[in-house]
C-alpha cells in the first residue's frame, strides 16, 4: 500500500475569524482575522489603546467577542468559558495570589483539577526548576519575591496547567532593562524547548523583534500588518508601521519627484520613501544616488553605534553610523542614500 507524502505543513493552532468587540459605539476590535500556527511565537505589537489586551482577553475566554468566532485546532471555542479552555495567561499585573505561597500559586491549576497534594508538589518542584527558581522557593511567600522572581512564579503557574497555548499580556513591562533582556531570552528559549504556541503582546518593538517568529501590528482595533520581524522592519506596509518599528526618515514622492529635494525617483510614482537611519550615509559629491547638505545637530553615542540628528532642507533627519564615526555637532557634511534601493509605501 502506498501512502501519499503530505507536504510538511504547520497546523493552525488558533484561527480568529472576523473577531470584533464593541463597547457601545467604540470598536475596540474591528473584524480581526488571523491564523496562529502550532509552535509559533506570535507577537502582537501596538500602541496603548490599540485593542491588544481586549484581543488577548477574548482569546483567553475572559471576554466575549461582539461578532466573529474563534477556532482552536478547528473546534469552535468562541463561547467556551475561560476555565474550560486549554490555554493559560501570564497577566500584565501577574495577578499572583498573594495570600498563597509560591508553591501554592504554581500548583493552583493542578489543585483545581483535583490532583492529590504529593503529585502537585512534585510537579511544582519541576516547574520551579524549569523557570530557574529552584524548589527552595516552594514555601516562600509571594510577597517576599522580587519583581523578576514574581515573573517566574507567574510563568510557572501558567505552565502548570500544561496549556496548548500560552498568552502573555506585556508581562515584562514593569521590569528593569537588564532583567527584561534576560527574561526575553529565557522565554524564547523556553518556547523553543517546549514547542508550545506563545501569543505575546507588547508595546515594545524591541521585545517583539527579539522573540517573535511573526509579528502582528495593531492600530485602532485593526491588524495593520502581519509578517516576520525582518519583513515588518524592511517592508512596512505604511508610514504608521514604519514609524512604529523604530527611527525612520520618511520622504514624500509625488509624480516621481521627491517633494523635499529637487530629485527624481524612477521606481515610485506617488507615495513615501522609507529610509532607515542606517541607510543614510556621509557621501562624496561624486557618489551616485541622492545627496544633500546636512549640519550635524546632535550626536548620541549608543554604545556600538552613533545616532546623528541632521538638519537638512527636508527638516530633521536621523542617521546611524558605526561607533568609529568621528562627526561632531555643527559639522557640515553631505549625506545621501540610494532612492532606488529604498522601500516605499503608498500611504
Amino acid at each position: 500500500m502506498t501512502r501519499t507524502a503530505e507536504p510538511a505543513q504547520r497546523q493552525t493552532a488558533l484561527s480568529l475569524i472576523g473577531l470584533s468587540r464593541h463597547f457601545g459605539t467604540f470598536k475596540a476590535l474591528d473584524s480581526i482575522s488571523l491564523e496562529i500556527e502550532e509552535g509559533e511565537f506570535f507577537t502582537i505589537v501596538g500602541p496603548s489603546g490599540s485593542g491588544k489586551t481586549t484581543m488577548l482577553r477574548i482569546l483567553a475566554g475572559l471576554d466575549q467577542p461582539t461578532q466573529g468566532s474563534l477556532l482552536l485546532r478547528g473546534t469552535d471555542i468562541t463561547r467556551m468559558p475561560a476555565n474550560q479552555r486549554p490555554t493559560a495567561m501570564v497577566f500584565q499585573s501577574l495577578a499572583l495570589f498573594d495570600h498563597r505561597s509560591v508553591g501554592e500559586n504554581v500548583e493552583f491549576a493542578l489543585k483545581m483539577r483535583g490532583m492529590p497534594k504529593p503529585e502537585r508538589r512534585e510537579q511544582a518542584f519541576e516547574l520551579l526548576d524549569l523557570v530557574h527558581l529552584g524548589r527552595d522557593y516552594y514555601n516562600r511567600a509571594v510577597t517576599q519575591c522580587s519583581g523578576g522572581e514574581r515573573q517566574r512564579v507567574a510563568l510557572a503557574r501558567a505552565l502548570a496547567s500544561d496549556p496548548e497555548i500560552l498568552f502573555f499580556d506585556e508581562p515584562l513591562s514593569a521590569l528593569d532593562y537588564r532583567l527584561r533582556k534576560t527574561l526575553e531570552v529565557e522565554l524564547r528559549e523556553l518556547q523553543r524547548r517546549t514547542g508550545r504556541t506563545f501569543v505575546y503582546i507588547t508595546h515594545s518593538l524591541e521585545e517583539a523583534m527579539v522573540m517573535s517568529d511573526r509579528i502582528g501590528i495593531m492600530r485602532e482595533g485593526k491588524l495593520v500588518q502581519i509578517g516576520t520581524p525582518a519583513e515588518i522592519y524592511g517592508q512596512p506596509k505604511d508610514r504608521f508601521v514604519a514609524r512604529f518599528m523604530g527611527e525612520v526618515n520618511i520622504f514624500e514622492v509625488s509624480d516621481h519627484r521627491l517633494v523635499d529635494f529637487e530629485a527624481s525617483v524612477s521606481t515610485v510614482k506617488d507615495g513615501f520613501l522609507i529610509v532607515r537611519p542606517e541607510m543614510l550615509h556621509p557621501v562624496d559629491a561624486e557618489d551616485p544616488g541622492l545627496h544633500f547638505e546636512a549640519t550635524i545637530a546632535e550626536v548620541f553615542r549608543l554604545g556600538s553605534r552613533v545616532q546623528l540628528h541632521l538638519e537638512t532642507v527636508a527638516g530633521l533627519l536621523v542617521s546611524e553610523q558605526p561607533a568609529s564615526c568621528q562627526l561632531k555637532p555643527n559639522d557640515a557634511v553631505r549625506f545621501g542614500f540610494d532612492p532606488d534601493q529604498t522601500h516605499s509605501v503608498p500611504e
Binding site: 475572559l62 476555565n83 499585573s93 495577578a95 491549576a109 483545581m112 483539577r113 502548570a160 496547567s161
Partner: protein, 281 residues
C-alpha cells in the same frame, strides 16, 4: 522634649479615659462577682459561690439561646451580605449608592423604634402584614410574633448592615485580575469563591461577623419586643439579677462570664486580621 515623652503625653487623655471609663468598671464588676451572694459590700472575703451557681442554677438556657441566636444570626447575615456586597460593588456608581443609602438610613433610627415597627408589621389579625393579606387577597395568615423565629428575624434585620458594610470593604479588596487568573487556570465559579474571593475578602467578613456576633450576645430588645416571654436571653438574665433579684454579685459573675466568652471569640479573630491592609485601601 523627646519623641517618646511627647508620645506619652499625647496618649495620656485616651489612657486616662480608658482607665476610668473602661478598666475600672470591669475591675469593680470583677470584684463584686467574688463577693457573698446578695451582699452589697466590696470587701476582701472572696468566694466563687456565684460562679458555681452560674453553672448549676439554671443559667444554661440564657447562655445557650444568646450564643445560638448570635451564631445563627451572624451566619445568616454573612450569607445574605456576600451576594449583596458583590452586586453593590459591581454596580458601584450606577445606582448602588441609592441601595446603600436605603440600607444605611434605618441605622440612624433608634433600634427599639424599628423593632416596634416590625412588631406592628408582624402583629396577628390587624397587623400590617396579616391585615394587608386579608384585605387584598382575602387570606388569613398566622403570625410569628412572640416566637423565637420573630427574635431571629429581628436580630437579622437589625444587624444586617453591620455585616454588609465591612463585607463591602472586603469585596473591594479582591482585584478583578485575581478572579480572571483563577478562571483562566481552570477554577469553576465555586472554586474561585473558595480559593480566591473569600480568602481575599476575609478581613472585611471577619470584622462584620465579629461586630454582629458580639452585638447579638448582648442583644436584649429583639427578645423583649418581638419574642414576648418565649425566651430569656443573657442580657435579660443579668439585668434581672441586678434589678429584680437585687443580687449584684450574681449579676457581676454572669457579666464576667459574658466578657470572658466574648474575649474567647474576639481576640483570636482580631489577631489574624491585618487592619493596616484594610485601611491602606
Amino acid at each position: 522634649m523627646t519623641q517618646q515623652k511627647l508620645g506619652l503625653l499625647f496618649m495620656a487623655p485616651v489612657a486616662a479615659f480608658l482607665l476610668i471609663g473602661f478598666v475600672s468598671p470591669i475591675l469593680i464588676v470583677g470584684w463584686y462577682s467574688l463577693m457573698e451572694p446578695r451582699s452589697f459590700d466590696l470587701n476582701t472575703v472572696f468566694t466563687i459561690a456565684n460562679y458555681r451557681s452560674a453553672f448549676s442554677d439554671g443559667y444554661g438556657p440564657p447562655f445557650f439561646w444568646s450564643l445560638s441566636f448570635a451564631a445563627v444570626t451572624t451566619l445568616t447575615c454573612l450569607v445574605l451580605a456576600w451576594p449583596t456586597a458583590k452586586l453593590l460593588h459591581r454596580f458601584a456608581g450606577r445606582g448602588a449608592a441609592v441601595i446603600t443609602a436605603l440600607i444605611a438610613v434605618p441605622i440612624f433610627i433608634s433600634e427599639s423604634v424599628r423593632l416596634f415597627g416590625m412588631s406592628l408589621f408582624l402583629m396577628p389579625g390587624g397587623g400590617i402584614l396579616a391585615g394587608s393579606m386579608r384585605a387584598l387577597f382575602d387570606l388569613s395568615i398566622g403570625s410569628v410574633l412572640n416566637t423565637k423565629l420573630a427574635v431571629y428575624l429581628g436580630l437579622v434585620y437589625v444587624h444586617f448592615p453591620f455585616v454588609l458594610f465591612p463585607a463591602l470593604l472586603g469585596v473591594a479588596l479582591i482585584p478583578q485580575d485575581r478572579i480572571d487568573a483563577a478562571r483562566d487556570l481552570g477554577a469553576s465559579r465555586w472554586q474561585v469563591l473558595r480559593e480566591v474571593e473569600l480568602p481575599l475578602a476575609l478581613p472585611g467578613l471577619v470584622i462584620g461577623a465579629l461586630l454582629t456576633f458580639v452585638l447579638c450576645i448582648g442583644a436584649n430588645a429583639e427578645a423583649a419586643i418581638l419574642g414576648g416571654q418565649t425566651v430569656t436571653v443573657l442580657t435579660r438574665a443579668v439585668e434581672q439579677r441586678f434589678s429584680y433579684a437585687q443580687d449584684w454579685p450574681m449579676g457581676a459573675a454572669l457579666t464576667m462570664l459574658v466578657i470572658a466568652m466574648t474575649a474567647v471569640f474576639v481576640f483570636p479573630a482580631l489577631s489574624r486580621l491585618d487592619l493596616n491592609r484594610l485601611i491602606r485601601r
